[in-house]
Symmetry: C3
């Protein structure tokens, strides 16, 4: 199970006290791990700040419509060689992911910050890219994930989550999560068809509902959940917390558990936001 409290603490620790100018950041990392890190943010936005300290790397992002926030972190334990000061740089996530696609899947890549040029160097075997970093001034910082109590927590196989989302997308652009003490129903209603994906307690890896909760129900945009559920297929399991017309929280892990990805997605009220 993902310890959400501990993970959030770690992310908060990483993003506090960061400073603009710093000189040293170098790591040797599995291409696949770095790619999952980048794609987790790219589900929402194309560029943002990378927070770096001795414990590892992290990023925060919010989409342009302010509907969904992502918190992604990768502990240095999941990185083969790692040495860094504490700092923050503006990273073009999309451009770096595109350059990485030239590198072979199972290879390691060497990442190095070049402070004099304000560039990031990416090296794999004979191939080297140097790419310009972004100004931090244009990047929103210190997003505050809202403190919310959510009465339901489910953990399910990530392929089941993906299956429910893609099945709903054939019906409409909106999905509803419902729960009672027996389990969870994921529903979508369209013009000519309805979908229902039902999971009883035992169909899930884990299920928890607070004792005072009765009919819990929230709706969300499938446009966001389609991207998110795709990212989650990199995680064996997906954990989802939700309540009554409250944001939901979706979490998974990657890089042998050293990486954590979390989304906070605002609910859809009636026919819009």
């Amino acid at each position: 199970m993902i310890d959400i409290e501990k993970t959030n603490e770690e992310i908060s620790k990483k993003i506090s006290n960061v400073e603009k100018g710093f000189d040293h950041f170098k790591m040797n990392i599995k291409k696949d791990f770095l790619d999952t890190f980048l794609k987790s943010v790219l589900a929402l936005i194309d560029e943002g700040a990378l927070y770096i300290n001795e414990d590892g790397i992290a990023t925060q992002a919010i989409d342009i419509a302010n509907v969904c926030m992502a918190l992604v972190s990768l502990n240095s334990g999941g990185i083969e060689e790692y040495s860094s000061e504490e700092g923050r740089i503006g990273l073009p996530f999309g451009r770096i992911s595109k350059l990485l696609s030239s590198m072979k899947k199972d290879e390691n890549v060497l990442i190095e910050y070049l402070p004099a040029k304000n560039k990031m160097r990416i090296v794999s075997e004979n191939l080297r890219y140097d790419t310009a970093l972004l100004s931090l001034d244009a990047i929103k910082k210190d997003l505050k994930p809202p403190e919310i109590e959510l009465p339901v927590r489910i953990t399910l196989n990530s392929n089941d989550f993906r299956h429910a989302i893609t099945s709903a997308k054939k019906i409409s652009d909106k999905i509803t999560f419902k729960a009672n003490i027996d389990g969870v129903i994921i529903e979508s209603t369209g013009v000519s068809s309805d979908m229902s994906f039902e999971m009883e307690k035992d169909d899930m890896v884990d299920f928890d509902i607070s004792s005072d909760a009765k009919e819990v129900k929230s709706s969300f945009s499938l446009d966001y959940l389609e991207n998110i559920s795709k990212v989650m297929t990199k995680s064996d399991n997906t954990s989802i917390w939700f309540g009554i017309n409250h944001p939901c929280r979706i979490m998974g892990t990657f890089a042998n558990g050293y990486g954590t990805v979390e989304y906070l997605l605002a609910p859809m009220i009636e026919d819009g936001y």
Copy 2:
């Protein structure tokens, strides 16, 4: 060999005496079998009537230009659990095929008619779709397949048939079937290239030409035959009957022989219909 007379009798039996109002239809069927049934009609048209009785399910369809008719049936022997009254419902073939694509290939699906809602229920594991049925008023009924005597009948490997059709499509939009006592030539003539696909008696699974026939020859639209030959790849063999400027009849089987698909395709005379 497909017994075309018997199959037609069965289809005729199924589509006779059907009534509008009926209450009960439920089956548990291999997803792949139902999908082939639907795609066989979808080669021509997006929606139509499903005829149901205790022997199985069947449908008839004619394309919008009145050039090609399809007769598709699936005997209940090819369906794992089956129970039904006799009746007729309006089915959105395309929409159901799209919903089925959310189900895994090797799974069974449970199909159930919900008369109170006028919906069809499709269930596989945790996933359930309910989709609205169509009014029968808008659907042409009781198509009468023309009674025609065709002097040539060939049965060939369906991959050979598909190969001949896709090879001709590189040349033009029209194909000609020719036969004499030695065998069959499938030809297509384009602006700069010609194609010929020749099958002698022994290249075919079966070949029959009536003793009084000499040079048999008919041309057909490749737009139709491209869709039809794709459907036929689900059948080991394809049987084709043709004559002199007459419609051709194309038949195959699916669902371990419990399903039959037949097309009647009007000939192309000169440069059009």
Copy 3:
């Protein structure tokens, strides 16, 4: 190693003394070999002249912008059955390649010149195409590959060459080959990113630099090199000769060494040609 002098001699021999009218050309050839021959020219242009004599077949082509020339030849030793007079015919490379795609990869195809119809016949199993040849009048002939001395010659694994080119294409449309006595650097510079692909002597299959050369450097269009490097993946190794702002020469082999493909690509000077 490819003996470039000998190959050029052979090509020159083949294209000399050809005459318009000739009656006989027939060969039985692996579909894959013929397809590689055609695709090697198609990297530049859609149609051209095929030179034929008792030693084999050859073609020359120059692209419409006069930037790149191709010389492709296939010795009859790489063709299963071959018999021909000496002659020249106008061949629609693209159309023949499209027709060939209907034939199975591992099959042989029979090619036969039909002088009475001015067509080429292509046969594989039951399938036969006859396709019109082109008038030679419209086709440039007797291209003269420039005589050039190039100080650097490298031979590298064709997949490495392809990797360098596709990696550069993510950055810009121009690539620079640089060499000194230690090895070769392939570079590309874009608006926000740079690429460098470095090969020391020992990273290459073979490397040669003339003793009086110091800093050799030329730039080329990636649009051409993308097509060329794709063709080269059919060759185990790719040999490249280059100099200082001179055309480069790129060579590979196919058809178990019986086929040779060579390109001469003009350099890009500053920001254009």
